[in-house]
Every structure is written in C-alpha cells, then in structure tokens.
Symmetry: C2
Subunit: 327 residues, 2 copies
C-alpha cells in the first residue's frame, strides 16, 4: 500500500492584526492578563472575508507551492468547524471557485472542530492506501472571531482567523509516510467547548439568542481532562510508529493555548526547541491551527524531508489526536 | 483486503404524520398538486425531537437488530446536513448518549447533504479495507422540516424528517462486499439547492433573515442536470462492479422526488418493480432517505443476503453517487 506524503501547504492570513491591547478593554481584562493566560499577543481577524474567500486563497497558494493545477486534485475535503453556508457544503463551493465546477471532482465536508484536519488526514490516508484517490486537498477556513463571547475573556482572547490548504498525495518515492494516527473522543467533555446553535436550537424552531452563536469554553476543565488523557495517546501513537519520543525531530501541536501546549509537552519530557509555537502571533485558529503551524515549520526550514514529525492536538468533544509522519 | 457488510440498519420516525391535505393551504397549492408534483402523500415532521434524540433512537434500534452493544462500535460517523449543535460536532454527543463518553471511541461528522450516507459508506469502506476500523456506525438524523420555505411549495412539500443508523462491519464470511462506488460533484449546480446561513452570512456578522435559514431549490434545473449527468455515473458504477444493469436485483435510490427517480430509472431501462420507493410515505429525508429506503427493503424481505443492490442518489452540490453492493 502506498505511503502518504504532504506535498504542499498553503495559507491565507487576514491582513487585520488585532493585538492584546486592542481587545483588552472590550474583554474587561488587561493586555498582560491576555498574554499571560493565553499566550496570544496578537491574532488575525477577518474584516469582510468569507470562509470561501479564505479557503480559495489558501488553496491557490498550495497549488503554486506544489506546481500543480486544480485539475490534478481528485478529492476536495473541507475540514472545518465554520462552513461558508450550510447547503451545499463548502467543499462544492470551493470546487466551483477553483474552476472545477464541471469536472465531477468528488468533494465533501468533515467536522471534528479543532481536529478536523487530523480527521481529514486519517480519511485521506485510508483513501490513498486503498488507491481510491491519488491527490487530496484538505481545506480548512476558520472564522472563530465571529463567535466570540466578550463576557468570556479566555476564549475571546484565544480565537484567531486563518485558512490552510494541505495537498496530500500517494508517495511514489517511498520516503514519506503516515506512520501512525490515533484519534479518541471523550464525550464526557462534550459540554466543555460548545456553540449551541443547530437544529436542536434553531431560530425557526425556538427563540435563540446571540449567546447561542457564541463559543463557550470551560478552559480549566479542558486543561485538566487533556492533562489526564492526552499524554498516553501521544505515547501510544509514537509507540505505534515503532519509535520513542527521542526519535521525534519536531512536534507540531494544535495551537490550543500556550499553557496547554507547554503542560503536555513538559509532562512528556519534550524540550521547547522541538515544539512549533505560533499561537503568540495567530491565536487558536480551530482546524487551521495545526496545519498553519506545520506551514510555518516548512517555510522556516525547521521541517525537512526525511524528518520525523509528531502532530498532536485536542478539540471540542473532548477529542484528542496524535500522528507520526516521516516528512 | 476484507469486504464490507452492512450488518444492520435502525430507523427512527417521528410519530407526527403530516398529509398533503394538511399542508396544501399553507403552501398555497392543492393536495393533488403536491402529490402529482412530488409524489409525497404524507411525511413525518418532528414535534420537539432533536437530531440527537432521533439519532440515538435509530442507533438503539440498529444495535438491537445486530445483537451487539454500543461498546462494539469503534467509529461513530454522524452523516447529515442538520447538526444537533455546531460545536462539538453531533457525533460526540451521540457517543456520550450511547454511554461511551469515557470510552475514547473515535467520532466525527461528515456532510455532503443528501449524499452524506453515501460519502460515509465510502469512508467506512476505506477504513475497513485498511483494517483501521472493524465496526462503524453511520448515523443520520434529518430535520428538513425546520427549514421549509412556505413560499416554495415544491421543496416545502418534499421534505420529511427521519433518522437512520447503519452498522457497517468487515465481512468475515467473504460473502458481502462493496463492489464499486462513484461520487461526483458538479459545482456549477451549487446554487440550485441551498441554505445560506453560515459564516459568510452569520447573524453576529451581518443582518440575516428567516429566508437564510430556509432551504431553496430550483427543482426543474436540478431535474435537468441530473437527467443529463446521472445515468452515465450509474452505468459506470455498475460496469466497475463487472456487471450490467440486468444483474442488479434491487435499486435503492435516494428519495429525491418521485419524478426524478422514475425519470432516471426509465432512461436506464430499469423496471419499476426493482426500485424501492417510500417517498410517498416519508418525503425526501435528506441523508436519511437512502438508508431509510434500504431499511424498508431489508425489513420487507425484498433485499436478501447475496442479492446485488444498487444505491444511487443526487444531492445539493450538485452531487451524484452510485454504489453496487453484494448484500
């Protein structure tokens, strides 16, 4: 069965930079509180960009980096918590904007909140292993800023907007591979991160309030659950790759919060210089965070072909995932 | 690589029956117009059921039919256009309600509107073929009734509510299999079926109207596109299974509309008695329609182990899918 290679990553960043100082007053806290509590000195927030605008821009960036055309993609997966519109699903709109509207190229959307990219990578690897698809686009566009609850300074300060586009292919050279991937969900934590709008609380069925459209998080309890359950999952993923943590060249975590990343990393004994952090500049960008950090590691030259990279993250659910790749 | 077997299907139907006569006045048409135009004499609409209530009831039905426990499931996929709530995704809430909240059982959601079940079947088959999962729950709960636009009598009369739960396993006896599956999307038809609420048109970003939460459809143009593009996809799926249409024992279509089903079927030369129709009783139940028709075929004894069954459907996107299974 062919291995999997991440061929290229594209990114789109809104141009509007919002600093901790810019939002401290509206969140009712100080600039120092924001930076100490979340590690987010600044983040990007959209002005009038839509998820589709952002996904398209990131995809074009990825296509240029891979030197391929949109026609070379045989599956488009939109992996995000924030759809452009509910129907049709965003993947079809992205297909049309890429000029593939008459191509028949298969598309669908997938959602596991902050782990949507990891889930899509899992699905992509199974499709590639079975030969069903050869080149898969995983696009994630996140506008977390739209759902900020200003009465919750921790989550309000945490969220940033970003889009990423990851091109995944069968590895013909036999050098790159997905060596292991584990994803686990603990529904006992389902209320810890939530946005309640949906078909149980739908404005045409029951009265809704702006709060229903906002993201709510019990940060301390998420931290406790992750601290208890996440390190063994990471260790298991590394063991499944027939490795130890010492074999990992680089750790690319979901940028949940600086404290959460440091806590998990230190409990595993991983030193700071092997961990990619960009939450200080961009905040927690939901499903785009992890591929967005991977993007930076590639662009900066920190991640080279042949390296062993550990991807790891937590998400609403509460879900946790870890994967080991030979880059 | 192991084959795939649909082990059991569960269903939940809201108890509230809504006849064509009941809704003719509010849609501004006659009972006869509704039945002639859509083929839907009656449909079920929820009263206060939520997507989670419905998905849980259908899943319990499937577990009883398969004589297994929830603990025997190793992946939960919520495949639907109507989420219970936006975050966390509905699969995690279903996991918790099934008593699996501390199990770690992997879960995620997937969405390709009416084809969500077909997409999930595609993903499930790849996971089973690679040995990554052994038993997968595909749950679809649809409350299309919440988004009905009474000024559009065709789509308003078409939609019904239903939930299904399909248990997919590796086939250890070597008798059942997924022989082929094709899914294609034509984004040129993305505006033909739409519900515009989302992050491009979000109530905390821009003023929204009730119309944004309603389903809109250009029925005649969907019909034309499907008539042109869908039959060759079905023929290709059958050919990929090394079969001809004569080898198909039973056709289980997505219950898009009676006219659409009959048109495609007749253009392929498939006689009426090989086609499962239940749109007259339940309407178009989005992603639950196709597995809901499959449920009836199994319950009625029309579909027996060893039979060859063709699943086929269209969805917003515009997307089209066809699959051949040895049941």
């Amino acid at each position: 069965m062919p291995g999997l290679k991440i061929e290229a990553i594209g990114r789109y960043l809104p141009s509007r930079i919002v600093t901790a100082a810019d939002i401290a007053d509206q969140l009712g806290v100080t600039e120092k509180w924001i930076v100490d509590r979340t590690g987010v000195a600044e983040r990007r927030w959209v002005t009038d960009e839509t998820p589709l605008d952002m996904a398209l821009a990131a995809t074009k960036d990825a296509l240029v980096k891979a030197s391929i055309d949109a026609e070379d993609i045989d599956l488009i997966v939109y992996a995000s918590a924030t759809p452009h519109q509910l129907i049709p699903d965003t993947s079809t709109l992205l297909q049309r904007e890429l000029g593939l509207g008459e191509s028949g190229t298969k598309t669908f959307s997938l959602h596991s909140t902050c782990l949507s990219f990891m889930t899509a990578l899992d699905v992509a690897s199974a499709f590639i292993a079975t030969g069903r698809h050869q080149r898969i686009l995983i696009a994630s566009a996140e506008i977390g800023s739209a759902g900020i609850d200003k009465s919750e300074p921790e989550s309000g300060a945490l969220l940033g907007d970003m889009s990423t586009a990851v091109l995944v292919t069968a590895d013909v050279e036999g050098t790159s591979s997905l060596r292991s991937l584990i994803q686990r969900t603990y529904g006992i934590g389902a209320d810890l991160c939530r946005m309640e709008i949906g078909y149980a609380r739908h404005p045409l069925r029951v009265p809704t309030t702006p709060q229903d459209y906002m993201f709510h998080m019990d940060g301390p309890e998420v931290f406790r659950m992750a601290h208890r359950l996440f390190p063994p999952i990471i260790e298991e993923a590394v063991a499944n790759a027939d490795m130890t943590l010492d074999d990992i060249d680089l750790v690319v975590p979901h940028q949940a919060s600086l404290g959460a990343i440091r806590s998990i990393q230190r409990s595993l004994g991983i030193d700071d210089d092997r961990v990619v952090i960009n939450i200080d500049k961009y905040g927690n960008c939901v499903a785009a965070s992890l591929p967005g950090a991977l993007y930076e590691a590639v662009e900066d030259g920190r991640l080279q072909r042949g390296n062993t990279v550990l991807l790891a993250g937590t998400g609403a659910g509460l879900s946790m995932a870890a994967a080991v790749l030979t880059w």
